[in-house]
Amino acid sequence: MKKYIIPVISFLLAASISGCQKWKGEHTDIYTYTPPAASPVSDKAPLSCSTSGSTVISVKGTMLSGKTYTVEAGCDLVINATDTLLMQPGVTLNMGLGSSLIALGTLVSNGSKDAPNWITVAGVTKNDAPGGLTAAADPAYAGKWKGIIGGPTCNLLVLRWTHVEFGGLTEGKATSTIAGSGTGNQYSILFANYKGNFIMEDSWLYGGVDDPIRISAGKIAIFRNTFEKNGVSGGDCLNAKGGTVGTMAYNMFMGTATNGQKASNKGQATGAPQTNIVMYNNTFVSGGYRQVQSGRGGCINFEEGAAGAYFNNVAINCRFGYRVVGSPIADVAHLTYGNNYQWADSLSVANQFYPTGYITQPQVTDIPSITTSAKYLPSTYTLGSIYDGSDVVQKNNPMFLNFPLPTTGHPLYQYSAIGSFNFRLLANSPLVGKGNTSIQPLITVPIDKIYGLSEATAPGTDLGAYQLNGSGNKH
């Protein structure tokens, strides 16, 4: 018996040793996804992904004036890294429920004043009367589709005279992997390439869930836009993180959940520049009320290493005033501000013109004047301390064309959309002629009628987004 067993076992062991594939080898085979090549876009049939097995529809080419394009529900409309999608003036792009628009290449929505573009969801009825709908019932905050993403290879994303509406649904795994972003994001627009350009001018952003526009990094120019109903229970409307450089000017914000414009150097990538944003001539109305967290801001916010400037801005009944954060501290050595106006219907708003606990330095050019009375501000005032704002409640009425102040009939948080209100100034407004025009915009993007910023409006003589001479915000 054993004379067989020994040779048999020896043979088996020898065979298994010699059978090992190769000595000291290594081989890996990891699945890689490549989006399909795009074909020129057509309006003949809905843009569909349901037959492809994945959620992706690759598109490129031109969307023609006057045409309506429809994206199937649940699909990701992808512009590949070397492709361009140009939307001519007067294009409507109806996004399906749960869909998204991802620019890994170039996206230009070139609407015009007479023929704006629409990137929206069909068949949704808006109700913009103050208090017309609760936030929970308002379709503006429902996140019908995911939003627009300028991914890490997107060099140019232009939205000109374009309505973007009802975005902000949670991205989820498939979308976030294609776009190289976070799965939990709920942004209507995300831009994430510090070498790329994000230009938004004369456009409208309506609705949103979290930060309606998140700039993870990028060269930006955000001029003369209107923002309404942004963020359901939190979210800064224009939230710029580490590596963002550019200008935000002549924007009109109504009822943002938290801040209208925020700058932070958080998450600055290696190789990316320090966040530096110049903000001027923006108007903020009823900001900060859907953010229930206390102290989160309601108009402008600079924090965590961000540099820049803010001048000539107007904040009406915002829950918190212009906020400079002390820890983690903004780059206060490279942050200048002044000529900023604030209005308060109530004492609680006036008590936060210089938000408690932060380090906003009151400026002599601020309105109301910081020497209004012995209480505003007291000689003993230190940055961030509690003061009594009773002497500046309802002072210096801004004399808007159609927005009577103090407000009546509705709590402040219900003023979340412009509707028939008009924030242009009457000629006798105390905001006229108070602007600082010596500051310079920070232009980092190309100037171009189509493939860039068409107009870099310089700082205006009147405070806020609308100038008596008709320049500024054109809506």
Binding site: T32, S233, N276, Q293, S294, G295, V325
Partner: protein
């Protein structure tokens, strides 16, 4: 004396019979015994010792009152041990003396704790016992329980765990290493830490192998039982233990109803939180039972051993939570803290271990054994967090007052292993043995429930509270499961011819392992609507998904964490052992390991890396030299090549949220390889005395370290394991000495380890022209977990006469790198840690003893520091950092465990 090894058999019973009257004494530590005042006349002496055949009966006659008779007795090992097939030897004795013999005779570098040593240790788990081994440090869980072993500065990933020489799969969710606190220490016959690998051993242990040799069947009836109870002084009326009942939902809504099901709040049960109740002094208990015997003419041996532990532990923790990113102002990389948490942990750990070994001797040439092991651990961890300070940082106003966060986690881990082993003598010179192994390891975390409430109190000018605002009320329900199944076969053929008159041993063999791992992972995050203040009643809060589609299983953002892995490994070896010179033993050979792993996740088709296959082959040579200077002095030198396979959770592109950064997997990870050199001098002067002095050097290629990388967007950064392009080195020095003076013994060991690795770190600084900049800089640091200085010292008192054993044990672990930060100079260092434990066992009556264990007598704190001078933090941070004690550092975490008492009875038949 042991017949084979000549070791003294302390505790053996020497019986003197004169005129029908028996007197008995126990053998002392140095092997001596004596009877005084012996009457003149005829006498008989015989010696019994557990596990040994009774000695022959020595007879004689005392003729005079002053006569001194010296009778030396040799005892033979009683079991029908056939051959030492495992290179590690298969001695089945539990004494220190017998393990000294194994250490001495082993062909490679190892350290062993015997069952007797373990029994007397203050520790009830294998993890805690491991810290008594030279060169081993342990990493603790939040409640202070040792969990993982770091061997000679090499953290757990570099070490492997064997049960009776067989590798077992891990219940760990990410890695291959096994949590060592899952094993009750009393089930062990001995604990081996093998620090140099021979070709016949699996090659994936660069640091070392922990081999748990479980109790094997005795040669005669054995019954032992123990029961104990105790408590931790941490708990009191004012600091109660928080007890909870696990959630009834063992499966997630998606697991029950399918991935497309849209869950609502009604699908969840908050019992894990709502069942919280306070216990002021919870009573810990342990029990153990071992029964063994031989049947059928000693051919069939059976042992069954069961262990039960129900231990209540906890810790009080203070923790500063750093922001993801430091500040560049005032200094580059100034840490920023967002919260100062006070956390209390209450942990109830229930362990059940059952093992059973049956061996059957077919004839004198063939023997079979079947081994079964089942281990279960349920850990109920309740974590209460309060952040009463509020740091007034960007997201918080100065008025912030309340952050509550309560989490109840039940973790159930199981290991089952069944091994059928055969030994066959095929001829005078040929032997063959084999193992068939089936193992399953599972880990379930059913419905981890966490509630957090963050509220602001608004203050008026005089500081009085005027209003409370709910910032955030969140509830998460989380399920996490993983299961590993291994089917393996081992075979070894040994040929021992005489060549040129010398004994030479050739052996060859191999193993094949088929491994399947499945993991699933889902989190449901509900929001509390922010309008309802929390008044200790969940039912009042309108929790919901926002948006409601977040309740759908397939919208789960963690689909990549649901994966299936198959791994087929095979390895083959050839080794030869011979005496080159009469005193120089050489063992050398080569091993080939083939790894073939493939994984598939549930990620959609658009996700790159959703599946993959990784194959590699390694050739691992080794040589071990052992030179016997004298009978009791040995010098060893060895070289071996080894590998470390990345964990499944590292290879699969999973994503989990970490404490400060999210972590992602990396399928492109290469496995780690290493060259290892050892040199050791050993001196065994006799008895249990021992002196070991050694040094080691390891060169580690492709070490896996955690780096911060961009995840798509520039501001989204995650931690990702990557192979460091630079190699790591690790060298050190080890010394161990044990010396007994009669009934008092001293044991000391000390290890110096020095490891270095250079990795790329982020530096956030203020540049005069460019402004704030983030740059990459190199930082050289020790390997994670490695302490430069590690030592143990214990004093033993063993008096067979008094029936009393006592041990005072001290462990010192020097400063070590606890967690690597992605930022330069912001690594977390654990301060040097000392722990003092005491244990004793006193025989009350024959066979029955009382024992006690006291852990952490000095209430040593575990403290973690950043090496950043706390005085340089910005002024706002200074207000919140709490009490500091080292000027050049910042204390960021301190954990106190208090003292744990355990006392009970042991009965041995």
């Amino acid at each position: 004396m042991d017949h084979k090894t000549g070791e003294a058999l302390t505790g053996a019973t020497v019986t003197l019979t004169q005129n029908g009257v028996n007197r008995a004494v126990a053998v002392n530590l140095n092997g001596s015994y004596s009877f005084k005042n012996v009457r003149t006349g005829a006498y008989q002496i015989h010696v019994n010792y557990i596990g040994y055949s009774p000695s022959q009966i020595y007879t004689g006659t005392i003729t005079g009152a002053d006569e001194i008779k010296i009778i030396n007795v040799d005892l033979s090992d009683a079991s029908q041990q056939m051959v030492e097939v495992q290179v590690k030897g298969e001695g089945n004795k539990e004494s220190d003396r017998s393990v000294r013999g194994i250490e001495k005779n082993a062909p490679m570098v190892l350290n062993i704790l015997s069952a007797n040593t373990i029994q007397l240790l203050p520790d009830v788990t294998v993890a805690n016992a491991l810290q008594r081994v030279s060169g081993v440090t342990i990493q603790r869980s939040a409640s202070g329980e040792g969990r993982y072993a770091i061997i000679r500065g090499m953290d757990q990933r570099y070490n492997s765990t064997l049960v009776n020489g067989i590798k077992i799969p891990s219940p760990d969710p990410q890695y291959r290493f096994v949590p060592m606190d899952i094993f009750p220490s009393e089930m062990l016959e001995r604990l081996e830490v093998i620090k140099a690998l021979t070709p016949s051993m699996e090659g994936d242990a660069i640091g070392g192998v922990m081999n748990l040799v479980m109790k094997s069947a005795p040669n005669h009836f054995v019954l032992s039982a123990n029961v104990s109870g105790g408590f931790s002084t941490l708990f009191s009326k004012s600091r109660p233990f928080v007890d909870f009942t696990g959630s009834p939902n063992s499966k997630s809504p998606a697991a029950i109803n399918g991935n497309s099901y849209q869950a609502t709040y009604a699908d969840f049960n908050n019992k894990a939180l709502t069942s919280d109740k306070n216990m002021s002094t919870p009573f810990s208990s342990t029990a153990g039972l071992t029964i063994g015997d031989r049947f059928l003419n000693n051919k069939l041996g059976v042992i069954v051993s069961a262990s039960y532990q129900n231990i209540y532990r906890g810790s009080d923790s203070k923790q500063l939570t750093p922001n993801a990113q430091p500040s560049a102002i005032p200094l580059p990389n100034s840490p920023q803290f967002s919260d100062a948490y006070d956390r209390t942990y209450s942990t109830q750990t229930q362990r059940v271990g059952i093992h059973n070994k049956i061996d059957y001797v077919i004839n004198d040439k063939n023997k079979l054994s079947l081994y079964n092991l089942y281990i279960h651990q349920s850990e109920f961890e309740s974590r209460y967090t309060a952040d009463t300070l509020g740091l007034g940082l960007n997201s918080t106003g100065l008025s912030k007052q309340i952050t509550l966060s309560n989490r109840s986690t039940l973790t159930q881990q199981n290991i089952y292993n069944s091994t059928l082993h055969g030994d066959h003598i095929l001829g005078n010179e040929w032997r063959f043995n084999w193992d068939g192994v089936y193992s399953v390891s599972t880990r379930h975390m059913p419905d981890r429930t966490e509630f957090s409430y963050d509220a602001n109190k608004t203050l008026n000018n005089s500081g009085a509270v005027t209003a409370e605002v709910d910032n955030n009320t969140a509830l998460t329900h989380h399920w996490e499961n993983n299961r590993d199944r291994d089917i393996s076969g081992y075979a070894n053929l040994i040929y021992t011819p005489k060549i040129a008159g010398k004994d030479v041993e050739f052996s060859t063999g191999g193993l094949y392992r088929h491994k399947i791992r499945d993991a699933d992972y889902i989190t449901y995050s509900l929001s509390g609507g922010k309008s309802t203040l929390f008044n200790n009643n969940f039912n009042d809060i309108p929790f919901a998904f926002n948006p409601v589609t977040d309740g759908i299983g397939s919208n789960n953002t963690d689909l990549q964490n649901n994966y299936h892995v198959t791994e087929n490994d095979n390895s083959e070896y050839f080794q030869v052992k011979f005496d080159l010179f009469p005193k120089l033993q050489v063992l050398g050979g080569v091993r080939v390991e083939n790894t073939d792993m493939s994984y598939a996740t549930q990620s959609p088709e658009t996700v790159t890396e959703r599946s993959g296959t990784i194959k590699y082959t390694d050739v691992l040579p080794s040589v071990h030299l052992k030179y016997e200077l004298t009978n009791n002095q040995t010098i060893r030198a060895s070289y071996f090549a080894a590998i470390s396979r990345p964990g499944f959770g590292e290879m699969v592109p999973y994503k989990i949220s970490g404490e400060y950064y999210d972590q992602v997997g990396n399928p492109y990870l290469k496995h780690i390889t290493a060259d290892n050199y050892d040199l050791r001098y050993e001196f065994y002067p006799g008895g249990a005395d021992q002196l070991l002095v050694g040094t080691f050097y390891k060169k580690i290629y492709n070490p896996i370290e955690y780096f911060v990388v961009r995840d798509g967007g520039p501001s989204s950064q995650v931690i990702k394991p990557q192979n460091d392009p630079g190699n790591a080195t690790n060298y050190g020095f080890e010394a161990l000495a044990t010396k007994f003076f009669g009934i008092i013994g001293f044991s000391v060991n000390y290890t110096y380890t020095h490891s270095r690795i250079t990795t790329n770190k982020l530096l956030y600084s203020n540049d005069a022209t460019l402004g704030l900049q983030q740059t990459n800089v190199n930082e050289t640091r020790p390997l994670q977990g490695q302490a430069d200085h590690v030592g143990n010292a214990s004093v033993l008192f063993k008096s067979a006469k008094l029936g009393l054993d006592m041990q005072l044990a001290f462990v010192y672990t020097g400063e070590r790198l606890a967690q690597v930060s992605p930022y330069y100079n912001l690594d977390f260092y654990q301060h040097a840690y000392n722990q003092l434990d005491f244990s004793f066992e006193k025989t009350i009556v024959k066979r029955l003893s009382f024992y006690g264990k006291i852990n952490n007598i000095t209430n040593a704190a575990s403290k973690i520091y950043l090496k950043f001078p706390h005085g340089s933090l910005d002024a706002k941070q200074q207000e919140f950092i709490g009490k500091q004690d080292i000027a050049a550092q910042t204390l960021v975490q301190s954990d106190y465990y208090k003292t744990l008492f355990l006392g009970g009875f042991r009965y041995k038949f």
